[in-house]
Symmetry: C2
Subunit: 350 residues, 2 copies
Amino acid sequence: MTRERIVGDGRDTAFRRPTINDVAALSGVSKSTVSNVMRQTGSVSDATRRRVVEAVERLGYRPNATARNLVMQRTNLIGVLVGDLANDFNAELVKRIEQHASAAGYTTLVCNTGGHAEREGSRIEALLEQRVDGIALLDFTGDRAVLSQLLGERVPVAMVSCWSEYADCVAVDDMVGVGLAVQHLVELGHRRIAYAVDPLMEATTRHSRAEAFDRVMLRSGLPPRSEWTVLCGTGDDGGDDAAMLELLRGEAPPTAIVAANDHTAIRLMELLEGAGRAVPGDVSLAGIDGIDTAGLSRIALTTVAQPKEELASLGVALLLGRIESGYDAPPQQRRLRPALIVRQSTAPPR
Amino acid sequence: MTRERIVGDGRDTAFRRPTINDVAALSGVSKSTVSNVMRQTGSVSDATRRRVVEAVERLGYRPNATARNLVMQRTNLIGVLVGDLANDFNAELVKRIEQHASAAGYTTLVCNTGGHAEREGSRIEALLEQRVDGIALLDFTGDRAVLSQLLGERVPVAMVSCWSEYADCVAVDDMVGVGLAVQHLVELGHRRIAYAVDPLMEATTRHSRAEAFDRVMLRSGLPPRSEWTVLCGTGDDGGDDAAMLELLRGEAPPTAIVAANDHTAIRLMELLEGAGRAVPGDVSLAGIDGIDTAGLSRIALTTVAQPKEELASLGVALLLGRIESGYDAPPQQRRLRPALIVRQSTAPPR
DNA sequence: GTCGGTTTGTGGAAGGTTCCAATTTCACGG
DNA sequence: CCGTGAAATTGGAACCTTCCACAAACCGAC
């Protein structure tokens, strides 16, 4: 039962975790009975149960999930793929997803892709090798190879706050969200409105919000101008903050900016004020997401808040539903309604 | 090789992932050879290798990590326990830890404990069942039962930004950190300095910073007053924001506050300004951690920044070191030096 | 050809569970 | 005391790998 000592330095003894067989031997029953006791299945007499429980405690036995996973073809693990955990919105979402998942008995594997398709692919590969029961995608680079890799694998996938027609999805209705922001600005009197894109943002959402912006502007009788859609960023991410400043320096510049997400809106707020433009004095600024930081009174960013809690709970529910009741069912897609939160970063134009 | 159809609705066919045996059968070699090809071990002829690789691709074979884990007694999984992922500092740390771990071939299991010892215990239990190779503790409630549970398990543990004499640790030197903050305030002319505690904060760090504060104050010839150490919080977390406001309303109130972390400092900034106290006009405010939000020009919080990148990389290095070169070695403990970042939330007293 | 040595390939055990069919034990009525 | 059905218990197969000792094939030299 115990192995021999391995080395001579006197402190390293072969250490073996107790197995179900050790428990069986100590309590004088078969491993099947121990298994039944541990899982509370089958029928075992009280006396036997007590003896087994005692042996379990004496030995400090803990079932080996690895072995269980192998035989059950089930790991109770779910993977969460996120672009940038340092983005408040993602962090909050992941936190809530982990909570719901663990309440349902699942443990969460988190992978940060940094928005690189290559990394995304390799992390998915790792998740699939670990035989996760399902994957929640919070960010998706949109890389076609990755998508087909995933779809070809028959692994349940739920997209949370992003979108694909082939998988279960839950996301905010971007037409409504962007509409709320634009309408608010229009009501304040703005006519010249620019749109700031975050190059690091998840691809499907990025497109859908950008498209929504154009449609909403048109609907408000304000034909969008393509040069007023600016990719903002520090440079190494493919965006160009200078372009936005340039735009504001031109004649008849935008009097308001809708940013594709709060993270960008707050960066922009820094940028503008650093360049001597007051917010909302010179330019109004609205974001999307509703991160906590936007609510600080010193930031006071007007934003279209996503219902994070519903996003997380519905996302987990969709994923677990697919895991537990079969892979083959038409994808379920849920659109949630966002809510406008008006703060002090927006005001009537000069 | 393929199983029979299962149900009659015509779309659900028993699906089995290909195993190493399927590959072996298709390519006409033994599973051992397939294994050798996959792991690039042993010696296999070019011709055979090609045939195997082709079969692997045809079948879409992916090694089953579950089976491998079982036989290798190794999962290449590490657990990360964090109190609150929605706290910027933690999110950034987790992100970096995940990066380092995955670069080293490990996948990361993230658990959010919410600061509850009970939840902490149950999440650790889950991690141990999954047979993670090691656990990184970013937050530790300090619960003794949990600690002994962990220490009794012979599982490698590294504490990142928290401390225990029994495990590998890497954290900032709190005496130095708090010292920098206090010294800065003293140099500005403050004599009456309060200390704001975050009740949700990780226990060991909370104590060490609180103790450091007292010692540093004493050293500066400013005997700390116990009623000036205030547990700040919304109430449901055990803290009491009102108490801090009360304190400021008294006579000869503190002219400066050191907060145990940036998160609390920023909350306090909101609170104070909401109550009509200007920062830094009426009260100076300094935090600890150096989160990104503190650097926003509208927040401009003076803070003692932790070297996040070193914390993460060293933490992972310590953990992997212990995993890969033996459990029994004296704990390694590393103290890093924090750095003061002076911004606009601190100024000379009135 | 045969011999030694190297390269290449193989079969089977082990790893720790769950599940199921089969067996043993038990309690009770006849 | 036997038979019966239910309750309790058990042994072995299966899950999919890795690893190791061993076998087969091959090669060049004599």
